[in-house]
């Protein structure tokens, strides 16, 4: 299956990070928060107006906006 954006992942479905796109400080920060290739992520929920997302990664819950989550490509 080809990679797709984490922002489009269905709620509760586990997928693995394929890569984080872009070359900037945000990419580095997302990697440092644990969104490294191979890591399992799930979208736990979307906030009342559809944004931001609550994500499960590496034993914790982190909230990102859809725009940032879209930079994380997932597969499987």
């Amino acid at each position: 299956m080809s990679p797709r954006s984490l922002a489009t992942l269905e709620l509760g479905v586990a997928a693995r990070v394929a890569r984080v796109a872009g070359v900037d400080a945000l990419r580095l920060r997302l990697l440092e928060m644990g969104f490294v290739p191979g890591t399992q992520v799930r979208v736990i929920k979307r906030a009342p107006f559809g944004d931001p997302l609550e994500l499960e990664v590496r034993g914790g819950h982190v909230s990102l906006r859809a725009a940032e989550a879209a930079r994380i490509e997932v597969e499987g």
Partner: protein, 710 residues
């Protein structure tokens, strides 16, 4: 070298319990809360109790940070403290890790190991880990990392003695075990790809792979000046292209996480990369309601409504008690000293002035209690999550909501709290928004005016009118802060909407004892202010309002009647303060205020609460000597010469609106000056807010009058 002080620094991810541990070790009571970014400056203290060898142990508590490549001021402060910039570097780093979240926490551990400083790991929150079914063997972790690992529960103090002992041993130069050397060697391996080349180049230039790693990260995060040890390192790092540095830092981040997962696998843990979040199970269930699409918002609004209405309702009986006590004290002083100028000073100045502010202790304490409980439960991060969409409209992110909300208590810590915001422009927007949030110092003013002038006990459904008006003031202030932020963000401080990276911590039961202690501390600050600034201001104002006395005092009894009938000839208008008030009345009339209020407004330029004590003074001096009515009654019953009420609900409302906007807090101005390192922003803030206050209060009064509310 016994006798000499050893310094240990508490570092770690945000919200892992560093400050809890610091308080436990030093006996301090610094602020703890269940959200990332509570501590934003370096705290210092000394370990209490005797240590072996009579040695002194100094502790510094650092802000939390996810990595050593900072993206915000608080993280930069942490890095500076760790590598030793404004102060010497610590002798030992105590890295506090969340035992329930090793899969992420060990990342920072590896970065700190790369730094090469003497290190002890505090494996904190083992109670949480155990409850979530995560079993960790500290000895095995210590063996794998080659670093002492001490299990702790910072909330209860478990393990803190073992921790200080381990820190002292490491500080005295216990040799690094073999495992640590092996780990360092593995961390030194070079990643592949474009980043790898940049790193290799830097390694060749410096001849030290670990320094090269630290510096390439610094280059990526734009912090070379902080991390570079000397000119040579700085030059070499600046020679790397920024994109290449980011690639290299990214490759290193991936390599470190690979090492974390290897370590966890070797310890027999669930695969770090693939573990779910067992410690979040219970919180996720709670969040099904608290951050639910519909219920979440409804509950959020409900929580706010309960907060403000109960502040009003619950404090009322206590207020009556305090008022009674103050009146009693005033009577006692009067009886004891007999009439005279000194008695006047004591009764009308000190007791009435300070007493009128102290009456609001119950409200202030309740407000601090509510905010403290919210902060300690983990709900703050959820509020930020719920409200982020709205904040995004403004152009800020939900994280800015946390300092804004704590602005309800006091603007000063809230302004410091903006250090968690990465972009300086966004930080500035948030700083300029915070003073609009109604802080606890406005509470006495609102409560006084509502209780004096509105039918505050009448009920509308489950709420009292007083509570609803109070809620209205808070809504107005919050909405104004948001509108002002949106305007600044689109005009003078334009910048792209920042990304949001917000951790949602597990819910924790607030510890009532600690919350109550914190409430006591902050309430005492308020009392202390009443005892110093407000007392001093009150005495000065009393003098200004009492002298000079009228040319020749009319017959005593006659004067009293006059005061009740109309104040234009009252002794007070002969005083300096009175004259100033009367002179400025034309300025106040558009917003429906008269000279007594004018004096109070002038007084409140020192501090908002002085408004209440000044009004108390005015009425105390003006009133008869045996008149000990509480200020709110005096205001309610005050009549103009023509018999009309001096203060109508509309006038009270206009005055409250004035206080919503007016920037009347010199400490806020000073802290904005410090945090923005210029006078420009505090002056801008002061002038704009005061202007808005005047215009908004005038509009309220005039529009209200046109609508026939007078």
């Amino acid at each position: 070298m016994s006798g000499e002080a050893l310094t240990i620094a508490l570092a770690g991810n945000p919200n892992v319990g560093k400050t809890s541990l610091f308080n436990e070790l030093t006996g301090a009571r610094h602020k703890v809360g269940n959200y990332a970014g509570v501590t934003v400056e370096i705290l210092e203290g000394e370990v209490r109790g005797e240590l072996a060898g009579g040695r002194r142990l100094r502790v510094i508590d650092l802000p939390g940070t996810y990595s050593l490549t900072p993206i915000a001021e608080d993280e930069a402060v942490a890095l500076r403290g760790l590598v030793g910039r404004e102060r010497p570097p610590p002798d030992v780093v105590v890295l506090v890790v969340d035992a329930a979240n090793l899969a992420r926490n060990l990342y920072l551990a590896l970065q700190v190991i790369e730094l090469g400083r003497p290190l002890v790991i505090a494996l904190n929150m083992i109670d949480v880990a155990a409850a979530a079914g995560i079993a960790i063997d500290p000895a095995a972790l210590a063996a794998a990392l080659g670093v002492p690992v001490i299990p702790t529960v910072a909330r209860s103090g478990e393990g803190s003695a073992a921790l200080t002992q381990a820190a002292v041993e490491i500080g005295e130069g216990a040799p690094a075990p073999v495992a640590l050397e092996e780990l360092r060697a593995r961390l030194r391996a070079s990643p592949e790809g474009p980043g790898g080349e940049a790193l290799a180049g830097l390694e060749a230039a410096l001849g030290d792979p670990l320094r090269a790693r630290a510096l390439v990260g610094a280059r990526a995060a734009d912090t070379v000046a902080l991390v570079a040890a000397d000119q040579r390192e700085a030059q070499a790092a600046d020679g790397v292209a920024p994109e290449a540095a980011i690639e290299a830092a990214a490759a290193l981040a991936i390599a470190r996480y690979a090492e974390v997962d290897r370590l966890l696998a070797a310890l027999g843990h669930a695969d770090g990369a693939r573990s779910g979040a067992p410690a979040m199970d219970r919180s996720a269930r709670i969040d099904r309601i608290l951050t639910h699409r519909v219920w979440g918002l409804a509950i959020f609004i409900g929580v706010m409504a309960i907060l403000f209405t109960s502040i009003f309702a619950w404090a009322e009986p206590l207020m009556g008690l305090i008022e009674g006590g103050i009146a009693w004290l005033s009577d006692q002083v009067g009886a004891l000293l007999g009439p005279g100028i000194f008695t006047d000073l004591l009764r009308e100045g000190v007791i009435a002035g300070v007493g009128n502010v102290l009456v609001f202790i119950p409200q202030i304490a309740l407000l601090f209690l509510f905010v403290g409980l919210l902060e300690d439960s983990g709900y703050m991060a959820r509020a930020a999550f719920l409200i982020d969409r709205l904040m995004a409209r403004v152009g800020l992110h939900g994280k800015a909501f946390v300092p804004l909300l704590s602005g309800y208590a006091c603007a000063i810590p809230a302004i410091l709290g903006t250090r968690t915001i990465s972009s300086f422009r966004d930080r500035l927007v948030t700083i300029l928004m915070i003073p609009y949030m109604s802080c606890s110092a406005r509470l006495p003013i609102y409560v006084l005016l509502i209780a004096a002038l509105m039918p505050s006990d009448e009920r509308v459904g489950p709420f009292t009118v007083g509570g609803l008006v109070l809620l209205g003031m808070y809504l107005l202030s919050t909405a104004s802060a948001i509108v002002v932020g949106a305007i600044y963000k689109r005009t003078i401080l334009r910048s792209p909407t920042p990304p949001l990276v917000l951790e949602l911590p597990p819910y924790r039961l607030p510890r009532l004892r600690n919350t109550l202690l914190a409430v006591t501390d902050r309430t005492m600050d308020f009392v202390r202010e009443a005892g110093t600034v407000i007392l001093a201001m009150t005495v000065i104002l009393w003098a200004l309002l009492s002298f000079p006395r009228p040319p020749e005092a009319p017959a005593e009894a006659g004067a009293k009647v006059e005061v009740v009938a109309g104040a234009e000839d009252a002794p007070i208008v002969h005083s300096i303060g009175g004259r100033v008030g009367v002179a400025m009345e034309p300025l106040l009339r558009p917003m429906g205020q008269e000279w007594r209020v004018g004096i109070a407004i002038l007084g409140s330029f020192a501090a908002r609460e002085v408004m209440v004590s000044t009004l108390g003074l005015v009425y105390g001096i003006e009133g008869a000597d045996d008149d000990d009515r509480p200020l709110r009654e005096a205001m309610r019953e005050a009549r103009e010469p023509d018999g009309s009420r001096r203060y109508t609900p509309l006038r009270g409302l206009a005055l409250m609106v004035f206080y919503v906007y007016a920037c009347l807090c010199m400490s806020t101005v000073a802290v904005v000056r410090r945090e923005t390192r210029s006078w420009r922003w505090p002056i801008f803030m002061f002038v704009s807010m005061t202007t808005i206050a005047y215009v908004a209060a005038t509009l309220t009064f005039q529009v209200g009058r046109l609508l026939g509310f007078e």
